[in-house]
Amino acid sequence: MSTTPRQERTLSPSRAAPGDGAPDATSRRIEFASLADFAAGIAHEINNPLAIIIEAAGWVEDLLEDEHFSTSTCDEMQRALRQIVTQAGRCRDITHNLLSFANRVPGRVTEVRLDQLIREVVAGFEKRAASRRVSIELHLDEDVPAQRLSPTEIQQVLVNLLGNALDALESTGGRIDVTMRWVQGEALIDVADDGSGIPEAILPRIFDPFFTTKPVGKGTGLGLAICSSVMKNLGGAISAESRAGGGTTFHLRLPERPPGEAEKPLVRASLDEDDDGFGPGAQPPTVVLIADNEEGFAEMVSKRLARRNVVALTASSGEETIAQVHANPGIDVVVLDVKMPDMDGPAVLAEIKRRAPLVEVILLSSHTTVESAIDGMRLGAFDYLVKPCELGLLIAQIEKARARKLKQEAKIMEARLREITMRRP
């Protein structure tokens, strides 16, 4: 990511002190200035990876013009393709970040030790802190009980706060203190820097979306807005305290979310595609139905699955999905987009479960349809994944879903066997 040398927390005059002067015209202009800056920032962040994607694709084209390929040409092409995937991932992260602001995605809930999580996040900042002559001190009460929450969300908050604190200390160096205490059933986390502080006039606005004091491209003005929305979601809160010249402290308040008992273990599968457990083994192939109205996506996924001992069928509407499940009793798992043109996902799922209760269903949702995905979980879906998802993860979930189906089938067979043996004299 490119940075500019001017990174003090300066405020452009167009965004300073809202409300003085003609109220309506001024505030509208302020909003527009922020939105324009915001759009420019996003455009810059996306254009950089995009430029690499274009050059990598162009390089493959260049190489394909050669008369004959050597092994090194193939290596070159592979490297370029890998680069395209990596950089597209960068773009995806940006859009996810935007969407997670527009429409919060609940991450996967697991049991989290907050002290460990904080240590991990801080470790990720060590290099950056050292290069800016900033020391990060931890004061963590290790008796804080484990909490059930989505680690990615609280990580996102900490990453934002630490990143801001480091930016604030960029030109001066300094010290960041991260403190955690457990007070009356709440985890209280403070992130404090000893930088120049946030002027009183803008302190009330720092959690507003698009509000930023950083140069274009450096900040999207979404970081603290996301933090605020995450903390609200968790039933907690975020606040800031600052004195001019006296540093800034962000307070996080997180009410207790004790570990539940028999919830489904939500283990994230390995993202490494080669480590997906699908060898050319002796097992009969898994039969998967990819139900997605974007036919390109369904075809692409089914092609890649075909190389992994998975037979993939496709369907492009809700009706077709149900018909396929009916016609092919061999189907183990249905990967179902919750947004089909003719029926909504939960309705398709309910119909599948009615006709073939053992068939497992993995839902694919976009950020805007997470609610239907959650409905689907209640109706007996095996899991849901947010698009675009890593193929490795999808395959791992398909394999797990199939394992559960086989187990259920074995149970039913055992029950039948018992019935038969009991009827015998």
Binding site: S2, H44, A51, E55, D62, G217
Partner: protein
């Protein structure tokens, strides 16, 4: 087309290397640098015809680098690359004597044409012509 030497200055290593390979395949001599300081070091030791300069870089900014290059080596032509439409930066660059500016992501053919134009201007000026191919 005549062979000439281009120096690519961009902090995105992947972009730099890929663009270098593609320009190399089109018979240009290409050097690369990850920041302005490295670019200035290279320019001090190696003859370069045209510099392609990303205006947003950590350390010395592209504009400052441009000023420095033009002060030390006035005959070297500089093409500026910018990640998004920063017209003020582009204008400042043109006033400092940049040959032209292009927006990133840039079309390779467009870049090639501008590189050739820039080189031609440098060549003409050095051989005493002094006409500007942009006109």
């Amino acid at each position: 087309m005549e062979e000439f030497t281009v120096l690519l200055v961009d902090d995105e290593a992947e972009f730099r290397e890929l663009l270098a390979k593609r320009l190399g395949k089109r018979k240009l001599k290409v050097l690369t640098a990850g920041d302005a300081a490295e670019a200035l070091r290279l320019l001090a030791s190696t003859p370069v015809d045209v510099v392609v300069l990303d205006v947003r870089m950590p350390g010395m900014s592209g504009t400052d680098a441009l000023r420095e290059i033009k002060a030390r080596l006035p005959s070297v032509e500089v093409l500026m690359l910018t990640g998004h439409a920063q017209l003020d930066v582009a204008l400042a660059g043109m006033e400092l004597g940049a040959f032209d500016y292009l927006l990133k992501p840039v079309d390779l053919d467009a870049l090639l044409y501008r590189l050739q134009d820039a080189y031609r201007r440098k060549h003409l000026r050095e051989s005493g012509g002094g006409s500007d191919p942009r006109k």
